[in-house]
Amino acid sequence: MVGPVEPCARAKYAGPVLTIDQATYDAIVAHAKRDHPDEACGIVAGPEGSDRPERVVEMVNAAGSPTFYEFDSTELLELYKEMWDNDEEPVVIYHSHTATEAYPSRTDIGLASEPGAHYVLVSTREQGNNDGPVEFRSYRIIDGEVTEEEVTVVPELS
């Protein structure tokens, strides 16, 4: 079914995409709601080079703050050693913003250090700890440059 495609449509589909399964999506949103008004943070690990976010790892926000997050340094090392042992990498690095939009802040951009990861931001500013939809957006952050990408939620990763 190849036919003429309008330039803007083509540009849209040529862009990067985060494909994530419903259960993983729900786990990230639940974590963000639970920790509101503090920022929640964690990763989704997957096999190296696969781009498959398979294993959610909730991390403690060592900063315990509504405006900042940081993985505890000892837990960070444990996490990475576990991933190296499993031949995994952080496919998704997520955190929440609790009073602002789900867009990377200057701090987020300056500290982003995994060029291969999808940086997911969830905003709980509308619903807080309550049920209801949240902003869930994903970005690549490479050398200070932010590129938003589509998020495709599937029932299960194929």
Partner: protein
């Protein structure tokens, strides 16, 4: 024998893509100087104003060096050193 230093993805541009490199030194600062000789540019990404950068973690045999003397932390042959950028950010 030498000290193996594990390099994170984002700094592998300085090591020709290598995940781990080796170096020598009696303390961490000397080890970093030794690495810099073979991998120019690396030191600047680890150290700022004479101290370890705030958002870079270095571990010697699984200990965060901030708890064992920082740049003066002792290292020796056979030690495992890991460099990991902090995972941090936030709305602020």
């Amino acid at each position: 024998m030498a000290i193996e230093v594990r390099i994170p993805t984002i700094l592998r541009t300085y090591t020709g893509g290598e995940k781990a490199v080796t170096g020598d030194g009696a303390v961490l600062s000397a080890l970093i100087d030794d690495l810099e000789a073979n991998h120019p540019g690396l030191k600047e990404r680890l150290i700022e104003d004479g101290d370890l950068r705030r958002f870079v973690n270095v571990y010697v045999n699984d200990e965060d060096v901030r708890f064992i003397g920082g740049l003066e932390a002792e290292v020796s042959d056979g030690d495992q050193v890991v460099v990991l950028p902090a995972v941090a950010g936030g709305a602020a």
